[in-house]
Amino acid sequence: MKLHCFDRKFFHSSPSLTPIQLPSPMETHLWYVIPREVKSESLLNKYLDILSPCEKENVFQMRGEEPRKNALLARALVRTTIARYQINSQVSPRSLRFKKNIHGKPELEWQFSDHGLSPPLHFNISHTSSLVACGVTMNSQIGIDVEEKHRTIKHNILTFARRYFSKDEVQYLAAILDPEVQRQEFVKLWTLKEAYVKALGRGFSGAPFKTFTIRYKGVAGGSFNPLEDLNPEALQMVVDSFDDPIELTSNWQFVLLELVGSHYAAICMENNVDIEGKRTVPVKLTVWKTIPFLEDECVSGTDAVKTVSGLK
C-alpha cells in the first residue's frame, strides 16, 4: 500500500544551518531540542515548511498543541540535522527523502548514491514531551531513547518488570531497596532496552523485551551494585540475547547519559570494528543542543551532559 508523497525538488538553501563534518566510525553525534524553548510562531512555520506532505499530515493528526509541536520538532530536527552533514552540496532539509525498512524503521533514502549501496549515514530519533533528540552515526546501526528522569510509573515497578523484563533484570531491580533508586534504575533500563530494539530496527515485536537482558558488564547474576562499584569497565552495559545465538554481546555498545539534569538518554550502537581486531572500540560522543535555524551549542563536556556509563 504505497502512499505517494510529493517531492519538491527545488533546492532551497538554508544558510542558517551550520554545516558539520560527518561522524567518524564509532562516533555518535547527538542533537537535541527542548520544545519549551521554541516559542516563535514564525520559526515553527519554518519547520513546517521543510516537512514532506505526509509528515505534515502526521503532525496535524496529533491531538493537542503540545503533541503536535513535538511531532513537528521531531521531523524538523531529523531533516535539519542530516542536512548539516552536507553529504553533497545539493542537500537541503526539504529535499531529503525517507523510507522505511521492511520492519518499519525510518531510514534515509539516498538520492545521489554513486555506488547504489545503502547510505552510510544512520539516524534515530526519540522524544518525550520535554525533549526531542536525534542520534547520527556513520556505518553503524543506531537506536536512541530518551525519558524524563522523574517520570512516574503508575504501576508497581517489580510487577511491571516481571511482566516485561527478563528474569535477570527483575532480579537486579528487586535487589534495590530504595524505591526512588529502584525507579531510576527502572527508567534507565527501559531506555537502554528501547534503544537496543530501535537499533536492531526490527520493531518492538521483533525483539520482545523479555528475550534479552541488558546488564552491567561486571555482573552476571545481579549481585553487583553499580552504585557502589565505580570501576568504569564494570559499568559498561552489555546485552545477552536469548533468542539470537548469533547475536554476540560485543556487537552492540551502549551509552547512557543524563541530559540537562532532567532526562536519561540511552544510545545503542552497532560495533563496527575491524574483523581482525574484534576489540570493542570506545564510543566517541559529541552532543549539541540546538534550535534549528536559530542557534547551536556544543554541550559535550558541560553540565548538560553527564555520562552514566559507556564512555571513558
Partner: protein, 137 residues
C-alpha cells in the same frame, strides 16, 4: 465486521489526500495489513441470537478512554474516541505498555505481549478486551 473494517481502511487509504486536519489514520493501515488474526465471525446455534463477536461494547470503549486519559494525564474534556491512536494522544512506548497493564487490571484479563504491541487505537484495545473477557466467561 472485521473484514469490513479492513476493507474500509484499505479503501480510504487509496484516497490519501494531502489535506490537513484529516483524521485518516495511517497507522491503522499498516496494522491491518500485517495483522495475523481477525476477530472471528461466530454463528451461534439456532436457538440463540445471531451473534457477531467483533465490535466492542460502547461501555468498554468508554472505559478504555478513561484509562488512557488517566495514564496520559489528559484533561477531562480532551477528545478521546475509539478512533484515537495512543500515539496521536502523546503516548510513548512506556505509556502504551502501562495502558495495557491498566486495562488488564481493570478487566481482569491477560494480554499476550505480541497482542499488546499491536494495539494502536482505543477501538482496537476495546475490541481485544471484549474478546478476552468473553473467552474468560
Amino acid at each position: 465486521m472485521a473484514s469490513v473494517t479492513a476493507s474500509s481502511v484499505s479503501i480510504s487509504s487509496l484516497s490519501c489526500s494531502l489535506k490537513q486536519n484529516q483524521v485518516f489514520n495511517l497507522k491503522k493501515v499498516s496494522f491491518s495489513v500485517s495483522r495475523k488474526s481477525f476477530p472471528s465471525l461466530r454463528l451461534q446455534p439456532a436457538h440463540r441470537r445471531f451473534h457477531v463477536a467483533c465490535a466492542a461494547k460502547p461501555e468498554t470503549v468508554e472505559k478504555v478512554c478513561e484509562i488512557v486519559r488517566k495514564q496520559l494525564a489528559l484533561p477531562a474534556d480532551s477528545a478521546v474516541t475509539g478512533e484515537s491512536t495512543f500515539l496521536s494522544l502523546g503516548a510513548d512506548s512506556l505509556d502504551t505498555v502501562e495502558i495495557v497493564m491498566g486495562l488488564e487490571e481493570e478487566f481482569g484479563i491477560s494480554v499476550e505481549e505480541e497482542s499488546a504491541q499491536s494495539i494502536t487505537t482505543v477501538q482496537e484495545a476495546a475490541d481485544m478486551i471484549d474478546k478476552l473477557v468473553e473467552k474468560k466467561a
